[in-house]
Symmetry: D3
Subunit: 272 residues, 6 copies
């Protein structure tokens, strides 16, 4: 079976820079896959991505060595198993708040006797090889999102769940749950403390620690704090950010020496 | 009928900053439409965009005031008319090399007696209003791409074609045709001279002059040279460029002080 | 944030005429959105609409001021949150039978601390503005369908659930549950009595009352009885009804004075 | 091979009431196919229908006995042949203005030696039977649209083209070409005279005469004038018309006795 | 209402050969439907099939008399009811392990008072007739998959559930659960014994017994053992198997007398 | 740039076994790509494949080393160039009947100065590398279909066209054009003679000779006759053929010893 590139990287002590795909277009995913991310998450929760687009995006990513992961919309067995069958090498599951939820999630990702995953790896064997069934339990990653106060209060019990490979922090939801303003790269002490507590507890138990960030600066800081994987921005955010830079440059000209130039560049972004 | 925003802008002496959509996803187009571009071209020629995606992208753009344009794959009446019916406020047509081709193109864009456009503006009336049929000939833009040596040799005849609103320069094809290396923001003297000749001839005849660029710097230069519209980059290029910046920042760290960091960032891009 | 047009209308004492979209085509939704409905429900339960079509339909509706709503297939957190992220200004949830279900439903629709909605309003900020996160809890509508005997028996408890904005009656399911023949515009006393009881209880508690109908006559009657919103027919039913009128007119001719005319017009409809 | 139902109907002296599909959704086409139209045209010219939707719509129509036809975007061999391969029992081709164009069109619809159609009826044999190749030339209908002054001036030559089965009048384009206002059910004398001339010339030469109309009244009049097939309205127009009726009824109430009712119903339609 | 062909066949003492659709393409489903299978399952669990493809595949199958069934991804009410509304004449539900799960499943498939299915058979009435609502409870098949040790331990209780029509054995999952190697056409004694036990218990209680197989030989054996329906292979497996035969023949040539022939034929398949 | 695997194979004196994709599903294409074909043609002419499916299929094929080719619907510049931009390593063009057509076709496939291909290899650089523009003219294959009597009469002139890499024989069309029954693996002397003449003329001029076949036997014979590439069957035909084998086996049982078995297996296929 094709080895999971993230496990290989981590085994060598490396750290993974993860990209994020929210645009439902295999072409966009293929462009992202060629940029050099260690792994890419196809986001079926907050991304605008349905099932068949997600599969096509996994195919597009599979034209490269970038490791394909999927964030499912919710902890539901149907979609977790469908995305593994489709060749995802790991699942990020949102809102895992209790040990029982973590157990159910890990179980959906493993064939018996370790779990209850149903057998039918229709595209996974194409992607990873005919011996996928024998090795999938050991290669596929089950990453539980820790992003609520409830999850924090169950942190150790969640991390102790057998078959769970690691945790993935969603700082925006975590902040909202802790009463802070949701957003990336938090500065609120409560959120930062929680993040610190999570990575420490994960590392103590040999679990992988992953985190969502909005900038290389915060990602580097997270790596220094012990995280194994940091997501930075997303396909849509990259696109919008660069477009804002371009339009900002054109507007600067507008205001100083060319009164006819475009007046429609938004002052502070318009909501995206 | 809803007025064509580009004509309004130009009537006030303004210049248009145009964005470019090559990703076949209405969500990506909607994000682009919210960034502040004066207009957006849905690219059905070199973009990865088929007919039904193009319509959905026009719908997504129509949630804003950004002017929706379409580049068709080739000078073919079927697709020119389908995209106008779908609500494009202007058509960019590639490879218009002769006055006859310009005439056919302009004719496809106009209802009789000015042209031969077939009647059935099924979505255009939704977008632009019930009186679209009466005003479409005056509002819709027909922009012919000048991008070959042959077109240069027929430049004046093309520009004189009745019903043609302007020209759009494709510098990459123009360079290739002139024996230079294809690319944006040319430095080859032959290409620059040709661009200068085109904008001058267009302005002399009261035609709009548009140009494709790869950077704000070149776009500003083109505005100074008299162009009315400059396209800068594209959705996919913006996305890839920002991703490269992020990965470049992460890699810099990698090489200096954190040997475990990702090794898969490409040295010089990998072809996109 | 863009205000919820239904809340504005209701605040002025108005009543909403709601349209219904069951055809999975953004063009059809855009045509519907231009007809003058106050709001439109994209029906993901009994409509033939999957996730990505639903998003494209929301985009099409967003080209107008019609308020976009979604009926989800079932009370499941993943899809409720995905549709809110996609810009739905309200969710209609089928088969809410207990206070606990109503509580879960309301919670899925609200960010903490009022609920458990996960943060990532990827298209909602495009549609409603950058300050959507601050105002969404107050603008988004959570409408629970009351359509079973069990729901009736829990009516007051359901209506008292914090964060639930109103109820939506599905007369067909309600009739079936009460032992009557399912259908719109019921005449069975048990169903009419139940409808009366629901609207009264809702109004007493300051909840919005909405109802599905098959005709303007019944909708007007419901308005008189205190309902705030009435859905009338659907895209597919409108299409079929008008087609039946046309074919009926043509068939009448057939039978009287033109024996060669079409013989395939169905006598009494064929099941749709 | 499955016989062409229109030929059967016409052989018995019948007249065909044809429906029209402009919404790119197989479900909408299936609903239309169940209403009782003798035949349905999937409109790839002014309808919002691309290739793969068209095929899915043909499949949906094939669940009934309604005869499936296609209007192609333009006289181009690729798409004419693709739609025949996909199981269309007839092609309506827009803007056939000369005998040469009619000849090319007829040739695209026929296998050698009668024409140049390429062999590969991949779905047509599923729909019509394994012996489709032997009978297709005799069953498939080639219907040329007569809709310009030029076509009128070449009328007899067009009608005399071997292999052309009939003509189809597009009154809107015909009106525009003759200097009248485009629209259905024309009252302008020039257009009516042209229509009369076309049907007479067609009947004299044993060609089928078909016409697009906007109402049963005009369709009946056309039948009386000798036409063999009349199209009435379309899926999208039926939907919008019935929605307008509903909203009109609700608005009437609004103005007389219930001031809170919806104010957003458009006075005279809004452009569709 | 159109009768369920499987019930008719079984009532005559017949046995059903069932085909399997995992490729998300209505054309592929239509080809399969023309081959002569008694019924076809559209597989939304391990097949690469999302909701809208599944509906289009049901439409494609509906062009023939082949009975359309669906396997849902998991025991979830939303998707079970959506697929029945879309015209599936039976649902195969994976991983039914307890009587309670069987009860919930059967309930999702039946209108009140037998179950809790919500009313809105939008495409089912097109497919099966206007009187579908009255007869659906008696015609639609609810088939629960027995594929775990837990299910075996609850076998009789599951089979006794009112409204459950039969069981469907997934030998691969059953094998995995029993500690054997997953796969079709098992030889492990534990699996064979379990299969025997299931069919016997089902027959004793008058339930239909169905089984997934990989070959006609095993299917025949299962028929002899009392099964009412056997699935053999799938669309994708048929395609791959025949391709392997072709490439195997070409490779044989390669090795013996034509050294230039293709060298890329895989020795033992590559994982699919 | 990634070298064209067919050119490499041919340079070593090898012969290519080509597969064929007519099912519009990237998953089906990915399964085909894993079987061991040297190359795969995505068929946009007689296959049920539109533009965006074709791109997704190219992506799916790109997960393997199988060489991706495309057959375009017709000799039209727009689609030829779009498919090259999408990463096709060769184009098969139907119905090339004259040297002028061959010249136009070859020109569409080459950048200036060899041809008129427009510059914008948006996905081709992802697939083949950043230096694709410099090498594409030398790597991409332009294969003209010889399939009419007219083409035969212009055979030498077509083969002499600069930039044309080879010819591809469509035996069904060729047979029809020569007055024989269309089909694969012809036995008619006129067709066989024409095939012989084509391969001889091609080989004399150093052009590649390719041919469509229906069986390994005929393919082997063609290889012996000098052909460089033989297509055998297709995805849909493989699927149907294997299904027929399975159903045939089941039916044989039916007739001899198990009267209850399925009666719906077609006697001689039903038209596909």
């Amino acid at each position: 079976m094709r080895a999971n590139g993230l496990r290989l990287l981590w085994a060598k002590g490396g750290k993974a820079v993860n990209g994020w795909c929210a645009i439902p277009a295999p072409f966009a995913a293929e462009v992202m896959a060629h940029q050099g991310w260690d792994s890419l998450v196809v986001d079926m929760q907050h991304g605008v991505v349905g099932y068949e687009s997600a599969v096509a995006m996994l195919q597009a990513i599979s034209t490269t060595d970038t490791v394909p992961l999927v964030r499912v919309p919710w902890l539901e067995p149907g979609i977790v198993m469908k995305m593994l069958d489709a060749g995802a090498m790991g699942i990020v599951c949102p809102m895992v708040n209790t040990a029982d939820e973590a157990k159910r999630f890990a179980g959906y990702c493993r064939y018996p006797p370790q779990g209850v995953r149903s057998f039918g790896p229709i595209r996974a064997t194409l992607y990873a090889g005919a011996d996928y069934p024998e090795h999938a339990n050991a290669e596929v990653l089950a990453l539980a999102m820790i992003e609520t106060e409830e999850a924090l209060s169950n942190l150790e019990a969640i991390l102790d769940v057998d078959g769970l490979d690691g945790v993935y922090i969603g700082p925006a939801d975590l902040a909202a749950s802790l009463g802070a303003k949701p957003g990336f790269d938090p500065t609120d002490g409560r959120v930062l403390e929680a993040i610190g507590r999570i990575v420490q507890a994960a590392k103590e138990r040999g679990r992988f620690a992953c985190v969502h960030t909005g900038s290389p600066d915060f990602a580097k800081r997270m790596f220094k704090d012990g995280f194994d994987l940091a997501t930075i921005s997303s396909d849509a955010r990259c696109m919008a950010a660069k477009a804002q830079e371009i339009l900002g440059e054109m507007k600067a000209v507008d205001e100083t020496d060319d009164p006819g130039l475009p007046s429609s560049v938004p002052e502070e972004g318009d909501g995206y």
